[in-house]
Subunit: 504 residues, 2 copies
Amino acid sequence: MAKELGITARADNYAEWYNDLVKRADLADNSVVRGCMVIKPHGYAVWERMQAALDGLFKEHGHVNAYFPLLIPKSFLSKEAEHVEGFAKECAVVTHHRLMNSPDGKGVVVDPEAKLEEELIIRPTSETIIWNAYKGWIQSYRDLPLLINQWANVMRWELRPRLFLRTAEFLWQEGHTAHATFDEAEAEARLILHKCYQKFIEEWMAVPVVVGPKSEGEKFPGAVTTYTLEAMTQDLRAIQAGTSHNLGQNFAKAFDVTFQSAEGKLEYVYATSWGVSTRLVGTLLMVHSDDKGFVCPPRLAPIQVVFVPIGRGDERQAVLDKVKELADALKSSTWAGDRIRVHIDDREKETPGFKFNHWEMRGICLRVEIGPRDLEAYQCVLARRDDGKKETVQLDQLADKVVDALGSMQMRLYAKAAELMAANTRRVDTWDEFLKAFEGEGGAGFILAHWDGTQETEDAISAATKATIRCIPLEPHDPADIEPGTCVYSGKPSARRVVFARAY
Amino acid sequence: MAKELGITARADNYAEWYNDLVKRADLADNSVVRGCMVIKPHGYAVWERMQAALDGLFKEHGHVNAYFPLLIPKSFLSKEAEHVEGFAKECAVVTHHRLMNSPDGKGVVVDPEAKLEEELIIRPTSETIIWNAYKGWIQSYRDLPLLINQWANVMRWELRPRLFLRTAEFLWQEGHTAHATFDEAEAEARLILHKCYQKFIEEWMAVPVVVGPKSEGEKFPGAVTTYTLEAMTQDLRAIQAGTSHNLGQNFAKAFDVTFQSAEGKLEYVYATSWGVSTRLVGTLLMVHSDDKGFVCPPRLAPIQVVFVPIGRGDERQAVLDKVKELADALKSSTWAGDRIRVHIDDREKETPGFKFNHWEMRGICLRVEIGPRDLEAYQCVLARRDDGKKETVQLDQLADKVVDALGSMQMRLYAKAAELMAANTRRVDTWDEFLKAFEGEGGAGFILAHWDGTQETEDAISAATKATIRCIPLEPHDPADIEPGTCVYSGKPSARRVVFARAY
């Protein structure tokens, strides 16, 4: 059936399923510029809802938005020693500021006279340009904390781009805060991790995550600690949903940002940075969608309920009138703090069957079918996108049933994803077992194994299995996970188990 | 007094006043990257309110948001003949996609191996990349109209940047719509002009505008008609607040975008584009602010009411408690459809006088002063930012008085700006008079004069006076303005009067 709709089944080829899904659900498309995507209106509407929820959470915790330049002087990238290794490589470089008519009269060419003195880089992330600005903003402890977020586009020249998951240009938010003490910075990094990101990913996206620090080898270039949130896809890989970094004094030292403390001492400022991106849309797709297309949790769905009026000729108008009445009533109802988002598909030239598939593909949560006979019987059919169940509903019960179904769908999607994660998280104690778990090329779920804490072992395991340490969970699955043991690879002492997985 | 606060008086030097204002009101700052500004949290909060209002108006009229790539292949700019002349000159050119460690070990250099086959331009506007995408989206009349908007950053390498008014990088929205007929495109360009832009600029920004087409010489490169909205600054110059273009079939032809009509004919698609930018923040500042700093219309003010509790020692806590109670009550009141935005300045180390200046500079609409004696008398002082008037108010009347004052301030700011515009719009009938009007270097208001309709005359007038045709008003100031006459410069026949001014 999936093939009929033009979308590969997950079981046949998960990667192709994902690409088909993004395109057929009208979410995004490739552009002529390599690695840069076009986010189509339906995909952008999901991102807008993500932005609104996250922005609300940031502001609830005292953060404000600002905007910093797109372009960064090349020399800035070399100021923080680790940062340059991580970010100053695959990036877009602006070298000139003018075009001119081609001497042969055909089109335009770069004006060689307009070469910049210093090349500019399109921001791959903004720590450097922002800390350069903060130098002028921070003098005293009274200027702290500075709790600033930016919504922006960034660019990293990706070699193997995939829509939403890994694109050269992507949209994100990046928070950059400044604090008087290490502890305050640490508390901020944790606040964002739990109260903003984890809350949003679990409660809006209905995606369970394992949360904790990255290993040294996987952390952000320039960070003291990187906290991550890792979700599990249906093909049992890990996907990093967001990160929050305690940067210590590294960027303050690189950009010489000091403050006078309450005691009159001159000290370097402590920093955090944290970000989530349009990759969250890819994560959402990977976790919930099925062979019929997009499955969207109700809190993020651009349209929650679609009405499909059935009937032709004379009967059509009466059905349409009733549908408009029902839709208006529904639009003034609320669920999860928002007005219910409703659409009427009154296209005349398409069949009901075509419309059912059309809206299923696009992830609309609930479908209301209503025809002349339903009208007579004062009822309609309510169909759920997640489990496909259909129910006959009295018209005066519709609003209540819709509210119930949205709530139940939001919960069920979370529960289903949590079950998958639980069923595919397991402990492995020997290197043979570990190798066996990662046989083949696919995902193997989350493997909880002991590790000796060294970079060498992490590298060796990764070289042998393509699995990496995704996270050192703050909340262990089992108390025994944080008891000492011996490293699955080296046999050396290990403080606790960590999560290994193949990742997107 | 202005000098004391560190801001030049308008009468002394209007340009310096503007720069001082932007910086002292904490709205924006220059960055290390030439022409690129940092929008600080207070300035960004104004822009966020502008975005929210405009986005609501666009959506009310059926538009949806999407996102297109930042980078445009160089060859795209040459596809539309007029467009290339207008936009393919001062722009940021990406030529490489990688940096490498410098052979001398000092920092990073551009990797010469990573030269792009075709240079990419940072979008100065997105018609070309969007119409290239629309080619794949539009086949039939059923795909039309396409009503898409994008919120994005764009870049034009400005030679004389000024904060908010003219910056190399700026934030804006750009609408790009596709239609089946010329008339539909024309109706769309007018809808955006009046129902979105004019409504927003007048009702939210409290800025009166003259609205109408540009002359041929001033229109957007590639447009059939450019509609503009022109405001007047306090130094009597024109400032273009936004534009809406009917693009005819020019871009459809350049990118070969056709559709099958209902009658089965293959036709080129008709287009519009329209945009407003962070320049609106500059316009807002130019129109309303004064020698004490920012004056912000209540509908756009990030903070509408600031409480300044007065009193020390034992008395302080009782005042603070009452202030919190009053602020909470006010926060749950609404004005103009939104919760009232309130801040309490409870800083202990600053004097009331310092706080008054601080918030006046930042454009907070209303200040509530309350001290121990006020508390005893069950009253407070309510001070207005626009006219500086103070009123003693019973505490149980405060919410009502605040609502009244916000409404009255919003109206008064509009009326004051409209008066300035009316007083400085005049008819000029001879070339001598015209030259006299533009004596000196400053603004001369709006001059309504006859023009023969030719580019040569427009150029000659501009060369002699630095005044340009700002607009051919759709609604004449006086019916006589649209009667025929003789051109103020050439003496040739003229169809009607047009607006001349010096502009920002």
